[in-house]
Amino acid sequence: MAKKNARDSRIWLSIQKEKKEKRKYVLISCASLLTFLLIWELCTDILKLAPSYAMPSPLKVFRSFVAKLYQTAPDGSTLPVHIGVSVYTALLGFLMGAVIGSPLGILMAWFKTLDRIVKPVFDVLRPIPPIAWIPIMLVVLGIGTASKVAVIFMASFVPCVINAYSGIKQTNEVHIWVGKTFGASRSQLLFRVAIPTAMPMIFTGIKVSLGASWMALVAAELLASSSGLGYMIQIARSVGRADIIIVGMLMIGVISMLFSAALEYLERRFVKGVK
């Protein structure tokens, strides 16, 4: 009996120690963030080390964020409208790129003739960063949703194709042999062996695409647009409203995080056999 108690208390002590350890690091993290905000506040509102047009205080940023939820000044729309426009445009271009790109990559890897025809085009397109497409799209398609969607399409299309392509190419030969021994047809091999094997890679491509799409969108909105988060921070710069720039940057970051979280959730749901 006494022995059992000794053992229980040992477990209890070890759990307590673990908890304490975890709490310690959470505390350090909170303290670090708070210290940062305090120093920021100290340098701006209290010591006034930087002019407020260049470096607003954290409180000011927060107030601007709340105000921007319903105010349209200085750029003509409220924050939710800008977010809506940006997310809509980005998703439109991204979905087109992913829906066309991933299957094309799969087909390229599966059919040699198609591979031979399309691959050289890709080798040329691949190293061109999506941002470099902005000027040509603006000239050809004009300022508006179409040109932005086209830029985002390029940003998401290329990584989708490349990842789907190398995913299929990585299919384990042994799996194909196993499939053949069981008498699978060529299309069965593709749908039941090659594509499931390539799924993690295809998803990697989609994740890379979404990140690239979002960045390309912000760039396109910075250069030529009349709404969206990129436009909002560009206008805020021209009128010297750093508080709105920071609100915009944080929103861009938050949405980017939400996008990746959503894709990670989908990946866990649909990609079987990994982790």
């Binding site: 053992r7 040992r10 477990i11 070890s14 759990i15």
Partner: protein, 257 residues
């Protein structure tokens, strides 16, 4: 001097705690190992063989009891113990030579001196000519040879071998057992060798310690006095092998029944 005790375990126990699960792996382990003795720790899968080795190495703390190596209580890894691992633990970014001279190098031994030493042990394990090769280019058996040379080159008091041939194919395994026999005949050291292969145990050991199921402790001890190098088909060898096999099967059966 021959009979000085180098490794001493007094009532050693080890319990792993993970979340709310408590896993008592070792309990009441007592052993004493003499200088230049080749001791085999024998146990079936899932017994605490590797854990006991890690405790002696100082890679993990004991929960109960004490371990002394060279009259010093173990409280962390120290170069007076050398380890040969089950899977390769070679530094992949170093060549064979770099791996073997790692110990002397971190202890600040001069380049010419440590090169000479490393070369001696590389030759001893039969890897002459592979000094500049990276581990990735070596076969499983060759990697284990490097591991052995690396442990020996540091000149530890005790060498711990954790199923070093467990992942090798049968043919290579026989060959490596003969190699260990040859190396140990040439470079006498205190060795603690972990295995779950009875033939290997009888072939190599001066003394076999049999570990029980979890929580493991030593249930039986066999002194092997056969002349070396041993013949695995000799009558006496086979008799010992059978005796140990019977004992292990009987004690495993007791738990099942």
């Amino acid at each position: 001097m021959e009979n000085r005790i180098v490794v001493k375990c007094k009532n050693v126990g080890k319990t792993f705690i993970q979340g709310k699960e408590e896993n008592e792996v070792l309990k009441g382990v007592n052993l004493a190992i003499k200088e230049e003795e080749f001791v085999v720790l024998f146990g079936l899968a899932e017994t605490g063989k590797t854990t006991l080795l890690n405790l002696i190495a100082g890679l993990e703390p004991v929960t109960e009891g004490t371990i002394e190596v060279n009259d010093e209580i173990v409280d962390g890894p120290k170069p007076n113990r050398g380890m040969v691992y089950q899977t390769t633990s070679l530094f992949p970014w170093l060549t064979v030579l770099g791996n073997v001279e790692f110990g002397p190098a971190v202890q600040g031994i001069k380049k010419t001196e440590r090169r000479k030493k490393a070369q001696y042990y590389i030759d001893l394990v039969g890897l002459s000519g592979f000094e500049k090769t990276y581990p990735i280019k070596l076969s499983g058996g060759m990697k284990q040879r490097v591991g052995i040379a690396r442990a020996y080159c540091n000149e530890p008091k005790v060498i711990l071998m954790d199923e070093p041939f467990g992942h090798l194919d049968a043919q290579t395994r026989y060959l490596m057992e003969e190699e260990i026999e040859r190396i140990c005949a040439k470079e006498k050291r205190t060795v603690i060798f972990v295995t779950n292969n009875i033939e290997e145990a009888v072939y190599l050991a001066d003394r076999i310690l049999v570990l029980s199921d979890k929580p493991s402790h030593i249930v039986k001890e066999y002194q092997i006095d056969l002349p070396r190098p041993r013949n695995i088909t000799a009558k006496e060898f086979l008799r010992l092998r059978k005796e140990i096999t019977d004992f292990v099967e009987r004690s495993a059966g007791e738990v099942d029944g």
